[in-house]
């Protein structure tokens, strides 16, 4: 039965919760404390529920049996039921991540529309400040999860092994576990309103995050769990890219998308611990009565801001570096030209990784930290313009004199360039201390990061969904609807978010449910535009959903692209390639006579065949 693993997982989770909660109550009783205290009981219950969930969904059958000398059970490799269980096939995990993340994206998008309705006019329209704060906070953290995991969990899983000519990732079972950690995160977040919601935004600054409703605890546990998933993912992709490249796939022949995942994985693996520590200390302040952030007992609220941003600034590069990779990948194939300045782009990606660790305090220019820290963090932050500029040179140089094939993915890649340049230059206004002192915590910031993450990364992700749709589903999407979606979204997106810069300059703080009357017109305008934007996603969802079930069957390489994922069937077989590919040249040898990226020996045959079309 298809749903059996999920039913088992829920059951085991319930048992785990009972065990954890029971043990905590019992222990408290033994220690002479009031037996029931919601937050400690929920925390311990959750920890055991998570373990129960993982064992139930398949970690026991596919993995843990081995620890007790038993034979692990062979996972299911056929039929749609394999998507509903613990599968170690990187392609299944990729699809699991993508579907989960697209659903979360649409939900979080709907939440943003609720916020826009509330903000359509001053005063209260549809909800009070408390519900608004929870809606806003949920929108924030859900979209952060989407921005982190859609590429790193979804596309990287499906395509990194294919593009480097490997059979799977280095640690398939850890990979499966990193996905199955995600559904509990979603459940916790959606349950926050049941425990009073949470009103700190996704940043969870104490002391507020220590003092507010218990919904905050669920949020903290969710974010912490998500961090574990992210660390495991980073580890896995580093090991995969270092160890499993096909013969001949030297570092200089690695597709730029793979390089971008490598860069982002470095950050995932090494920076996430910092935010985990921050979240853990807030949980301890709430649950165990420690005082990391309680000033009255010698704690320091500013400490959290440093710890939090020490991860969360690098984290924006976990989001944006893979977007660079995706956009450049699509630009080169649809221009039919080599990627411009390939080596310089690789160096730039790695430079951004390095710089990303030493810029965090640009979020703290108005926090009250020492004034002497302003100048160094302004300088390091603005230096990021240089490697980012190199990525732009590569994009523009690649399309210049190309043979531009303006299919939907290409439109999104070009849209990425135009949106991201706005995100980039407005970032300077926030890196510059004098302007940031005024703009910090206003809608200018909201507009800026939406330009980088939505106009930038989400545009790249949407492009990639169209680009790789035939490979993943084996079917073609409707091109006309794709083009309609692009133009509809591109125009409404820019109208909506350009106006938010204006609202910010007008003096509207971010994260507010209400504002003075002078900002009424501008806000109504944004609200109307945001609904036009939201409606464009109906075209997107309808197109992909219908095409997935009924679309025309796709060929192996509809885009005539040279990278390895297109040199196998759509969708690829379980073992990816009929036999191990041998890489003999650059993946971007367009216009070079006789250039070949890889050779694939047909299974069982001896005749060599070109790996390109």
């Amino acid at each position: 039965m298809a749903f059996l693993p999920l039913i088992k997982a829920v059951l085991f989770a319930a048992i785990g919760f009972a065990v954890g909660a029971g043990a905590t109550t019992g222990l408290r009783n033994l220690l002479g404390m009031e037996p029931w205290s919601t937050e400690p009981v929920v925390t311990m219950g959750y920890v055991f529920a998570l373990i129960g969930w993982l064992l139930g969904v398949g970690l026991w059958d596919a993995w843990a049996r081995e620890w007790f000398g038993k034979q692990p059970k062979e996972p299911l490799h056929e039929g749609w039921a394999r998507f509903l269980r613990f599968s170690t096939d990187h392609k299944v995990i990729g699809v699991q991540y993508l579907v989960t993340m697209v659903v979360i994206m649409l939900l979080a998008g709907a939440l943003s529309l609720l916020m826009r309705v509330e903000l359509a006019a001053p005063g209260q329209t549809i909800m009070g400040a408390s519900d608004f704060n929870t809606t806003m906070s949920l929108h924030g953290i859900m979209m952060i999860a989407v921005a982190v995991a859609t590429v790193m969990g979804g596309f990287a899983n499906f395509f990194v092994p294919l593009m480097i000519g490997a059979e799977d990732v280095a640690f398939p079972r850890i990979n499966a576990m990193s996905y199955w950690i995600v559904p509990p995160v979603a459940v916790l977040l959606l349950a926050t309103p049941l425990m009073g919601g949470f009103d700190t935004g996704w940043t969870a600054y104490p002391p507020l995050s220590v003092l507010n409703a218990s919904g905050q605890l669920l949020f903290l546990l969710a974010f912490l769990t998500f961090g574990v998933s992210s660390i495991l993912g980073g580890l896995n992709f580093l090991a995969t890219i270092i160890m499993l490249r096909a013969p001949g796939m030297s570092w200089g022949r690695l597709p730029i998308f793979v390089w971008s995942i490598f860069s982002a994985a470095l950050i995932s693996l090494t920076a996430t611990q910092s935010v985990a520590l921050g979240l853990l200390t807030v949980i301890l302040d709430r649950v165990a009565g420690t005082s990391f952030y309680n000033a009255a007992e010698g704690g320091n609220a500013l400490l959290y801001e440093h710890v939090f941003w020490f991860y969360s600034h690098p984290a924006v590069y976990i989001m944006i570096l893979p977007a660079f990779g995706i956009a450049l990948e699509m630009l080169t194939h649809f221009s039919r030209k080599p990627l411009f300045a390939y080596k310089w782009v690789v160096a730039s990606l790695l430079t951004v990784v390095g710089l990303s660790y030493i810029v965090w305090a640009h979020h703290l220019f108005t926090s009250g930290m020492g004034d002497y820290l302003h100048l160094p963090f302004m300088v390091t932050t603005e230096l990021i313009s240089i490697p980012t500029g190199m990525v732009f040179l590569s994009g523009l140089g690649t399309i210049w004199q190309g043979r531009l094939w303006l299919k939907t993915p290409m439109l999104f890649a070009l849209g990425f360039l135009m949106n991201f340049v706005i995100g980039g230059v407005t970032g300077i206004f926030l890196a510059d201390v004098p302007t940031d002192i005024n703009l910090q915590d206003t809608y200018f910031v909201v507009a800026h990061f939406h330009y980088t993450i939505m106009g930038g990364e989400i545009f790249a992700i949407l492009g990639a969904l169209y680009y790789w749709f035939p490979k993943m589903s084996g079917r073609s999407y409707n091109e006309a609807l794709g083009v309609v979606h692009f133009w509809w979204l591109f125009l409404s997106y820019n109208v909506t978010f350009i106006s938010m810069f204006w609202v910010g300059i007008l003096g509207m703080p971010r994260r507010v449910a209400d504002y003075p009357a002078n900002m009424a017109d501008a806000n109504l305008f944004v609200t109307v535009a945001s609904f036009v934007l939201g409606a464009s996603f109906l075209v997107f969802a309808g197109n992909l959903l219908y095409s997935w079930i009924k679309g025309p069957v796709a060929s192996a390489n509809p885009w005539k692209a040279r990278t390895l994922e297109w040199q196998t069937s759509s969708p690829p077989p379980l073992e990816n390639f009929p036999s191990e590919p041998t890489v003999v040249g650059s993946p971007y040898g367009y216009g070079v006579a006789g250039s070949v990226h890889a050779r694939l020996a047909p299974a069982g045959g001896s005749k060599e065949q070109d790996g390109q079309s």
Partner: protein, 227 residues
């Protein structure tokens, strides 16, 4: 609503303090630097979409240009130069202007306390405090000593372009020299607005700001003391 469609050069709201001019000038300078960068990218993309477009499936490859070293080095030089320029101005120059008087004694000391969800201002030199409005004499440099009673807040006066967080267990400071008479009733930017999320009442955690002449200020102090 039409004003949204054209971005006017003077897009800033009321500026009522000397510090606001520094911030607005820095903003304008960055606009001057950012516009050509933005234009270069957008124009190149649109031109390429029109000029290099091929209808239908591509039948040939483009030229194999891998990136001539001269172009890359020229680009690197220009982007590095621009970056250094904006670090120097408005970055370093703006910081120097904002901090030019940091070591001088202020004309007036105001203690600002943020609590959920109100602002309390105290004038220790006069033994006066208020939770109704912040009154400042025009042309006098005020030092704000900001603190928080419970959670993080942020002291922001949009018309002054000045902002500093209120942090529990800590006193943070900022300065402003109001140079324009006016009050919240004339212009909504004359307000203290909490800018750091602090829970339920965050959006409406505001306090009117009123900039008056020195005589009016003295009268207001006398009147407040009498109460």
């Amino acid at each position: 609503m039409l004003e949204l469609l054209i971005v006017p050069w003077n897009l800033f709201p009321l500026a009522a303090a000397e510090e606001a001019a520094v911030v607005d000038n820095a903003f304008k300078l960055l606009m001057v630097l950012a516009t050509p960068v933005f234009a270069l990218v957008v124009v190149t993309v649109i031109y390429s979409m029109l000029r290099f477009r091929r209808r239908g499936e591509p039948t040939e490859d483009g030229p194999a240009i891998h990136g001539p070293r001269s172009v890359i080095l020229a680009w690197l030089t220009v982007t590095t130069g621009l970056t250094i320029l904006m670090i120097i101005t408005p970055g370093i120059t703006g910081l120097r202007e904002l901090r030019a008087h940091a070591s001088e004694a202020p004309d007036l000391l105001v203690q600002v306390q943020g609590g959920r969800w109100f602002w309390k201002v105290t004038y220790p030199e006069y033994g006066v405090s208020s939770t109704k409005e912040l009154v400042l004499p025009v042309g006098k440099r005020a030092r704000f000593e900001v603190s928080a009673m419970d959670v993080l807040h942020s002291f922001w006066i949009p018309a002054f372009r000045v902002k500093i967080d209120a942090v529990p267990g800590k006193i943070t400071t900022t300065y402003a020299t109001p140079d324009t008479l006016g009050s919240y009733d004339d212009d909504e930017h004359m307000r203290i607005q909490c800018a750091e999320l602090c829970g339920l009442g965050h959006s409406v955690m505001r306090l009117s700001v009123r900039v008056v002449t020195e005589d009016e200020f003295k009268a207001w102090i006398a009147e407040s003391t009498a109460k």
